[in-house]
Amino acid sequence: MNAANIKFRIVKSKIMQVVIIAFAFAITLPLLFIIFYIFRQGITKINWTFLTRIPKPVGELGGGIANALLGSVLIVFVASIIAIPFGILCGIYLSENKTSRLSYWSRLTVDVLQGVPSIVIGIVVYFWIVKTVGTFSAFSGSIALAIMMLPILIRSTEETLKLIPSTLKEAGLALGLPYHKVILRVIVPCGISGILSGVMLSIARIAGETAPLLFTAFGNPYLSTNILKPMQSLPLLIFNYATSPYDDWHDLAWGAALILLLTVLLLNIITKITTRRWSVQL
């Protein structure tokens, strides 16, 4: 073990450290660059007209994204209403029953669902709902999005509730509370922060999803609140306008992209902040 050998190893280690730090640092660049670029492109386009008008006919200037904004809000809202109770209940079941046959299969299928590409879910919902009912609708889009929300909701609910000491449940039951009260009034409120963060994460995930909406919500140039009819949404608008040749449509797409990006990032950041403060200490 001579000195030169040791020096070489130390130098090598230092070099690798620099390389690794450089690469790690480089990661932050694309994201910052993208955010900065979208911000710069989009911030000038957002004004009152932008937010409250609907798009003009092809080739005419002016117009806004009001229909897409409202559409996105409505579709995500309906998807959440469908998915949240369902997801939380399933998560509760999985956290309570760790070894039953049903929970094995349920966990397996949740894992499978998490990996299914969103376009495949869009195909399936098209077949299940759009073709059967006979029309495209925001509702079918919501169903597709709800299916995508489920794995995240179930996962986070299950993980949160698993962290809660079982002594809590046992204390409640020992005090004579009925099972559903123990779960709904003691355990779930205890883990509400984790569940809420799961809700917010799943909403952030689907707010930007385009593929499932391609064959379900379809799009609509008018302001619409009817969920049984086609509806426009922000990601659909961005996709259609970004690939078009019209410069003013590109402008609309930038503004819409900025709004979407900020919403999604905000949801994620809020989730991080709240989870850190309320993390269950054991």
Partner: protein, 326 residues
């Protein structure tokens, strides 16, 4: 309320003592009001939970069934040749998914190759070099946020920013300056899948028992040697699982890819040529597959995509489970 030992103080922090006290007072009254109702409520509640779990299973099996049923016409008439047929010709009803399989595999693997150095760098940095500190927090949050950005935004940005850059590059190299193509799609994908291997890798590295690492350090190993000779072999399978999960994500990515890949059904001649992936083909052509064979060929693509991504994800998850339980 004041004499509880240290352990229970924390429990109480979450134990809704007042509510429980309230319930304790309520219980005698409620009990007299008919425990039958309560038992029924319990029963209903338990049943609801079971139904919720059951519905998940039904849902996923339903998805698989629908895909299989809808692709039977295509499977019946095209058979196994579908997988290596090189022509995708809706006019003459000849469907071969080879060029899309190739495009999918090319873009995903290229994206993996590009992203792995970065993911691992992040994993090593956050797992071993500096798990705490303001930069580490910043890095960790940034990586998570990368995963949060919707893919259509990546596609838009790629179309407007990356494509001209790649086009200039192609002109310098001397290939056809499409700008759009497999390479650009791989770049965008690479950025998008970094978080998965990175965060999983970090978790795996943190699981390495410190006794192993301290042993190596005390024997005089440098930091890099500890990573290279101790951590890497130990977390090999975990890191591999992270790679698999990134791959699964890349395979199914649709929007960002379809905006920058060129959408042609020809077999790509080089990585700078345009191509197509399975997911992108479905997105482009699904809304207009106007004859049964066309439609069912597309659904069969979806089925292949479904199976491939599911298998890869399941293998990855299984490895992680085994690793974290060891």
């Amino acid at each position: 309320m004041t004499n509880y030992p240290q352990y229970s103080v924390r429990v109480i922090h979450y134990l809704n003592m007042e509510a429980i006290q309230q319930k304790i007072e309520e219980i005698p009254v409620k009990k007299n009001r008919g425990s039958n109702g309560q038992i029924r409520m319990e029963y209903v509640f338990r049943r609801t939970l079971v139904i919720a779990a059951l519905l998940m299973v039904v849902l996923v099996f339903g998805i698989m069934l629908t895909l299989i049923i809808e692709s039977t016409p295509s499977m019946k008439s095209l058979g196994i040749k579908y997988l290596w047929g090189k022509t995708w010709d809706p006019i003459n009803n000849v469907y071969g998914s080879y060029s899309f399989l190739l495009g999918t595999l090319l873009t995903s693997f290229l994206a993996l190759i590009i992203s792995i150095p970065f993911s691992f760098a992040v994993a090593f940095y956050l797992g071993e070099y500096k798990p705490t500190g303001w930069f580490s927090n910043f890095l960790k949050n940034t990586v998570d946020l990368i995963a949060a950005v919707p893919s259509v935004i990546y596609g838009f940005w790629g179309l407007i920013v990356l494509v001209p850059i790649v086009r200039n590059l192609e002109m310098k190299i001397g290939v056809l300056p499409y700008g759009i193509g497999i390479f650009t799609a791989s770049l965008v994908l690479a950025i998008m899948i970094i978080p998965y291997a990175a965060s999983l890798g970090r978790e795996m590295i943190r699981l390495v028992p410190s006794s192993l690492k301290e042993g190596a350090y005390s024997l005089g190993a440098t930091k890099w040697e500890v990573i290279h000779r101790v951590i890497l072999p130990y977390t090999k399978s975990g890191l591999f699982a992270g790679i698999l999960l990134s791959l699964g994500r890349a395979l199914g990515e649709t929007m960002a890819v379809t905006m920058v890949i060129g959408n042609t059904s020809m077999i790509p001649t080089s990585i700078f040529a345009p191509g197509n992936t399975m997911a992108s083909v479905i997105a482009n052509e699904f809304n207009e597959a106007d004859h049964t064979l066309y439609w069912s060929a597309l659904v069969e693509l979806g089925l292949v995509l479904f199976l491939v991504t599911v298998v890869i994800n399941m293998i990855g998850k299984r490895i992680i489970k085994r690793f974290t339980n060891e």
